[in-house]
């Protein structure tokens, strides 16, 4: 809650032209906060799952031990994306895992300890393109997403092939990204279903196949366009309001800007891509052909975090 409010105070001050609609954004966020406050008043009357969501959104602490005491979900978890959260008061790292057989998602989150190390170094060490066999324990709440890493079953195999110089070592753990969950339509249906379970949800994992399309379409034909959806990005509960800052690099539009890009799927549908410099890498890897993209869906657009160049994983 506090993080969201911090993000809101920046909204009205922002001089960015994209934030001209700040009254609308502010109203949306106030509405959701009011909804949360009212739900909190009535939390005893809510179904158990929804009550857990309300408690977690309000910020009731849940101890790691309590989460670890919850049932374990054992599986082969592929690390599909890692996102560093650098704008919050405390730097954090979000790791997106997907179970290879069931396709279930899980999100691990760790923050920097005061001494500069990670509170959970085993989580912070995970790299896209690796796979772990481990028990995960989901936090209470719905849809089940946030989890902690429990028992490992892979004898602590090194999850850092990047530093190895011998080709064999790097090949040891490189699972395929897994099949995308479906096209954009299916992904948005899942997102809607998730919102039904948690109306405050703003971060949703996505594995899609699509073609990145720069604003204005093809080479040499760039028109400054700004077709971002007007819906608001409210920083999620862990790192309020940070998205707005890193989604808007200084060189919006014009030469080198990546605002107004889309990801187009085979059905001709398009999702807005959040502006980031690394979208150029995504474009390079695609070469105008469909590529697999793992990332986070936010009401503002898709933050592309990982893609695959042939067998090789490419963090964005």
């Amino acid at each position: 809650v506090a993080g969201t409010l911090r993000g809101l105070s920046g909204l009205a001050r922002g001089s960015d032209p994209a934030q001209e609609q700040w009254p609308a954004r502010l109203l949306a966020e106030y509405g959701l906060l009011h909804l949360l406050a009212r739900a909190h008043e009535r939390r005893d009357a809510l179904p158990a799952g929804l009550a857990a969501v309300v408690r977690s959104r309000v910020g009731y602490p849940v101890s790691r031990q309590d989460v670890l005491a919850r049932p374990a979900v054992t599986g082969r978890w592929a690390v599909l994306a890692v996102r560093d959260l650098t704008d919050g008061a405390v730097p954090g790292r979000r790791v997106w895992l997907r179970e290879s057989a069931s396709g279930h998602w899980a999100m691990l989150l760790t923050f920097a300890a005061p001494n500069g190390a990670w509170q959970d170094p085993d989580t912070a060490r995970l790299r896209p393109g690796t796979e772990i066999r481990a028990d995960l324990h989901y936090y209470p709440g719905q849809p089940a997403l946030r989890a902690v890493l429990g028992q490992r079953h892979d004898a602590g195999s090194p999850a850092e092939p990047g530093s190895a110089d011998t080709p064999g070592a790097a090949l040891r753990e490189r699972p395929a990204p897994g099949r995308p969950d479906g096209d954009i339509e299916a992904m948005l249906t899942q997102w809607a279903a998730a919102l039904e379970q948690d109306p405050w949800l703003t971060t949703w994992p996505v594995l899609l196949s699509g073609i990145p399309v720069p604003a204005g379409g093809g080479p040499g034909d760039k028109k400054p366009s700004d077709n971002k959806p007007s819906d608001t990005e409210n920083g999620d509960q862990e790192a309020g309001g940070r998205e707005a800052a890193d989604a808007e690099p200084a060189d919006r539009g014009g030469d080198g800007g990546t605002s107004g890009w889309q990801l187009a799927d085979g059905a001709g549908n398009g999702l807005p891509l959040a502006a980031r410099d690394s979208l150029w890498v995504l474009l390079a890897v695609s070469g105008g052909q469909p590529v697999t993209v793992a990332g986070e869906w936010h009401p503002d657009g898709l933050v592309a975090l990982t893609t695959w160049h042939g067998e090789e994983v490419v963090p964005l």
């Binding site: 609308a24 949306a28 509405g31 080198g256 889309q262 390079a284 105008g288 052909q289």
Partner: protein, 565 residues
């Protein structure tokens, strides 16, 4: 009938529910069925709840954008079926990344530009292209750094050229890479260009008329590269409408593909209203072999120098030029001197002698080394040598506008002037007295390296000022160094290894040793440096190890190219 929309709510919220009532019995869109939960007794709460309902409904009901067009030219990005391009191996990419990390940066593009230029040029020769994920960072490096531009241009492949077309600054860098002519890998370019020459030309013409200054300059440079005559005609067609600034800036670009066909246009530009344009035209005409401008300059200079025997010795006799006539002024002969220490006549002498092609002095019957060794009458030696130095600098630029060695005659002149011991007033600026480095730039790479090696052998390592310019000359030599220079550098470092204090010269050399000592060839310099660090450990030994490691990584990369090929 549509109900209350989110925009309605915003309107009410902005002025307050007390000023503007809200009847939220109907909500728009998918939240329509939920209006019953809103509390009509508390308008503020109802407003917020309605906002929450509509917000979540909109998020959940988001529709994808329909009929998004695919990016153009996807086929071009992936090359024609016949030309399968091979990417650098993952191991080669890791080695590049480690070289970048050694420079304190992240990623392959952080590597030293001399190293990038060496390794990517080698990769291009091996027929390899950059893997797609590396393309953006190396295109950025090519934008930043002219030294790596041709090398990056040679390893872009079809995918890289397609990508570069999406970003104006990348496209400019790729144009410039080709304009230097070193990136000979133009074959693949013919493909997409040939398919749509007409439409490209049309688009080009529109951009030429409407583009900004940078875009128009890039377009003209590219047009000159493809077809110099067409490029000149493009410029000529709208010449009278250009501003003086643009005329000078665009004329500058005729250096690409300069030929006798451009002479009439340039000769006319000598009468331009703007001094900047006249200067640019004189510069280009001065480069153009066989131009009437050069002939006029030769005719003007030839009578001013002669060789006379006085007693036992031959002397170079100097005649001062008179007041310039209108034709001389048109060709740029100055009327007055800009420097207080040089009189108008002496300044004119320097200018007229410098403007003449060096070949003019064959008529004196002596080779360059004999000519520069002659004593000069009337204490004019510094003036005459200044003029010859300027001529060498100009001919070198003319031989290769992007920098690079000139022909054999020029080499002889440069060597002769570099070894002449003529002193000049210290306050003469480089445009009057071009520095030794400017003359050395006219030497072929091996001659220049040989000269640098000779300087190193003569240098006292602890003399700071010598260390500065000797190491600058060594650094200016093309990397990787030929054996003669590499051995001379290593000798200086070995000599320094016995001392706990690292003197200025070996310190400066160690900074570039890792990127410039050869990574291949008969001698293993990495091993030499490693052994040196082990045999005589000093406080500064880590510098040796860093250099050795960089050489080893380069060697590993080049070996990887061979196994991949």
């Amino acid at each position: 009938v549509t109900g209350v929309s989110f925009d309605d709510l915003v309107a009410v919220a902005t002025v307050g529910t007390a000023r503007k009532g809200l009847a939220v019995s109907e909500l728009a869109g998918p939240a329509a069925g939920q209006a019953a939960v809103l509390d009509p007794a508390d308008p503020a709460a109802a407003l917020l709840d309605a906002a929450a309902l509509l917000t979540v409904a909109r998020r959940a009901g988001l529709q994808p954008a329909a009929d998004v067009p695919a990016p153009a030219g996807a086929a071009a990005a992936n090359g024609s079926a016949g030309s399968a391009e091979r990417e650098l191996s993952p191991r080669a990419v890791r080695l590049l990344r480690r070289l970048g990390a050694a420079e304190g940066g992240r990623g392959a593009a952080a590597a030293d530009s001399a190293i990038l230029a060496e390794l990517l040029t080698a990769a291009g020769r091996a027929g390899l292209v950059l893997p797609a994920p590396l393309l953006p960072s190396l295109l950025d490096a090519a934008v930043r750094d002219a030294e790596v531009r041709p090398a990056v241009g040679a390893v872009l492949g079809a995918r890289g050229r397609w990508l570069a077309a999406h970003r104006a600054q990348w496209q400019r860098a790729v144009y410039q890479a080709r304009a230097t002519g070193i990136a000979a890998a133009d074959d693949a370019l013919a493909g997409p260009a040939a398919t749509s020459t007409a439409s490209r030309a049309e688009a080009g013409l529109a951009a030429w008329r409407a583009g900004n200054r940078d875009e128009r300059r890039a377009l003209l440079a590219e047009a000159r590269r493809r077809d110099p005559a067409a490029g000149r005609e493009l410029l000529q067609a709208g010449w009278k409408r250009e501003t003086a600034f643009d005329r000078a800036a665009l004329l500058y670009l005729l250096r690409h593909g300069l030929s006798a066909a451009d002479e009439d246009f340039l000769e006319a530009a000598l009468d331009d209203r703007a001094a900047g344009v006249r200067d640019e035209a004189r510069k280009l005409l001065g480069w153009l072999p066989g131009s009437a401008f050069r002939q006029r300059a030769a005719n003007r200079a030839a009578p001013l120098l002669g060789v006379e025997r006085r007693g036992l010795r031959r002397h170079l006799t100097v005649t001062l030029p008179g007041e310039p006539d209108a034709a001389a002024v048109r060709d740029g002969v100055p009327a007055a001197s800009p420097l207080p220490g040089i009189g108008a006549a002496a300044w004119r002498l320097i200018h007229v002698l410098a403007a003449a092609p060096l070949a003019t002095w064959r008529q004196l019957g002596l080779a360059p080394d004999a000519l520069v060794a002659l004593p000069v009458t009337d204490d004019r030696a510094a003036h005459v040598h200044a003029a010859w130095r300027r001529a060498v600098a100009r001919e070198q630029e003319a031989a290769s506008p992007s920098g690079g060695p000139g022909d054999a005659g020029l080499t002889a002149w440069a060597l002769a002037l570099l070894s002449a011991s003529i002193s000049h007033p210290a306050k003469w600026p480089p445009n009057v007295w071009p520095a030794d480095a400017a003359l050395a730039a006219a030497l072929p790479a091996d001659v220049r390296a040989g000269r640098a090696a000779t300087l190193l052998k003569a240098a006292r390592p602890d003399d700071r000022s010598t260390a500065y310019w000797v190491s600058a000359e060594v650094t200016a030599c093309v990397s990787p160094w030929p054996p003669v220079l590499a051995d001379a550098v290593t000798a200086v470092i070995i000599q320094a290894a016995s001392r706990p204090e690292l003197a200025a010269l070996p310190r400066a050399l160690l900074r570039v040793a890792g990127s410039s000592l050869p990574a291949t060839g008969p001698r293993d310099y990495a091993a030499t440096l490693t052994q040196l660090a082990a045999a005589r450990p000093q406080d500064w030994s880590p510098l040796l190890q860093t250099a050795a490691e960089t050489i080893s990584l380069r060697a590993a990369f080049l070996a990887e190219l061979r196994t991949a090929g």
